[in-house]
């Protein structure tokens, strides 16, 4: 289970972006979180991905409450959640080849030895050719870079995947290809998915269920 319970979060003290957001994902479940831009759903996604410490509320990951965020989070928890953002350009180190980009999390967790094999396995799954793997971000399209970012998010075989507007900048075919790659990973591993976005048609088609942002803000039982 991934449980976000009455989470309040923001970037300036005492001025949270939202208060009391709750959302629970069953193991292996895919949930689409639908809301307008600027509503705070991306911030909640960052909390779920252990990238942003909330001001209040709890995140419980497979039964264990998260008490530390970002690099302070215990490795076991940090690596349980993979994340893909909307803008691949700002999410990718421009100096790395796509192969190194995909292997980044493996190297960062001292599993460099597995990198080559894992990259070889992931590249075809996200539709990247060996030639593309040698290029750096500036020499590939947004769609190709986003494919690499998805592969990077999957490199540590996370039990949960958080996709924040993953396809908002992409054309229809690349969108369908990335969603298909996520779904085949989930079929293989039973991973759960939180897909955050504003495209209702897309999230309805993609996810087991779709939740409105405003419904996350209702206090349970109230």
């Amino acid at each position: 289970m991934l449980e976000l319970d009455a989470v309040t979060a923001g970037y300036t003290p005492r001025e949270p972006v939202f208060r009391g957001a709750s959302l629970t994902l069953a193991p292996g479940e895919s949930v689409g979180l639908l809301g307008p831009s600027g509503c705070g759903k991306s911030t909640l996604a960052r909390v779920a991905a252990l990238l942003h410490r909330p001001d209040a509320g709890r995140l419980v990951l497979d039964g264990t409450e998260v008490t530390a965020w970002r690099h302070r989070a215990p490795r076991e928890q940090r690596t349980a959640v993979g994340v893909v953002f909307q803008q691949p350009r700002t999410a990718a180190d421009p100096r790395l080849s796509l192969a190194d980009l995909i292997a980044e999390p493996l190297r960062a967790t001292g599993r460099k030895a597995e990198a080559a094999a894992r990259v070889a396995e992931l590249a075809p799954a996200v539709g990247l050719t060996p030639e593309l793997l040698t290029r750096r971000p500036h020499a590939v399209s947004d769609g190709q870079l986003q494919r690499a970012c998805l592969a990077r998010a999957l490199s540590l075989r996370p039990r949960w995947l958080v996709c924040d507007e993953m396809t908002a900048m992409l054309d229809a075919s690349t969108t369908a290809a990335l969603v298909a790659a996520v779904e085949s990973y989930r079929r293989e591993t039973g991973a759960g998915l939180l897909a955050v976005g504003h495209d209702r048609v897309l999230l309805n088609r993609w996810c087991d269920r779709t939740v409105e942002w405003k419904d996350c803000l209702r206090t349970p039982g109230a």
């Binding site: 307008p36 831009s37 600027g38 909307q86 539709g127 050719t129 399209s141 947004d142 769609g143 190709q144 908002a168 900048m169 992409l170 054309d171 229809a172 075919s173 690349t174 969108t175 369908a176 290809a177 969603v179 298909a180 504003h198 495209d199 209702r200 048609v201 897309l202 309805n204 088609r205 993609w206």
Partner: protein, 330 residues
Amino acid sequence: MNARVARALDAVTAERAENALLSVRGLTVRFRLRGGRTVAAVTDADFDLAAGECLALVGESGCGKSVLASALLGLLPANAETSGTALTDGTDLLAADEKTLARSVRGRRVGLVPQSPAAHLTPVRTVRAHLEETVRALTDTPRAGRRKAAEDAADRAAFPATHLDAYPHELSGGLAQRAATALALIGDAPLLLADEPTTGLDRDLVERTADELRRHTDDGRGLLLITHDLTAAARIADRVAVMYAGRIVEIAPAHRFFGTTGPAHPYARGLLDALPDRAFTPIPGMPPELSDLPEGCAFAARCPRATDLCATVPALRAGVACHHPERPRA
């Protein structure tokens, strides 16, 4: 195709060109890279755009559609080589020098509705200051009338008067888009060029932005809508041109393209079938590099209908560049 049909089609094309606000023929853009490589960004694009018409140019990022738009505005980098013609009101946009473009084309004959309008606006100036400056630059309005002219422009683009004194960063995505549209309308240019105007906007904002652009088209302007958003194109376009690997591979009336007949080019059909409210299946593979295009049809490696014939580039005939066009769906 028999000769009579071909002649009839040529006649339609000629008539279109005659009434066109913008008539593009053989537009080709090459970038020379260091090391002798050449990027074939746009190859042999032909199309016409009439007053009151919206032509949507669709395709995935990197297909050449934004380069095509930049070529029309004379905004290509120095290493670009352009050939062909793009006539509007007697001026060839591709041959005009920078002075002509700056003085009499940009803003006056062609209004640009840019991608990411917030980045297009100067952060330290209010919307009002932007509008008044553009009124000064593009019209003969005397100083005393500029305030009113700016307010009128805002009103035409449905930009609320209450936000005229706001700075760009204080605007929502939707308002920034309207501010940019208001600026594009000031010179009363007969031709509007909208480059991915809905990217990153929420769906209802996409619809509102698209509808507003349609309204300006219905006022008699010609709108070239460059987008990867097929839903936005379906909403407002009269005709659709599909670009793949730098070429226009299909150009068709929107009702036929999005309707029961469907696209005739296998790539265009694949693109529509990838939509989440259709089959949601991707086209296998990826587009070729524009610096390393194959000999024949650039879609052949991904195409379910490819045969040996496809080793030669198919010409655009009757609106489709394909040796084995798909049959109508219905």
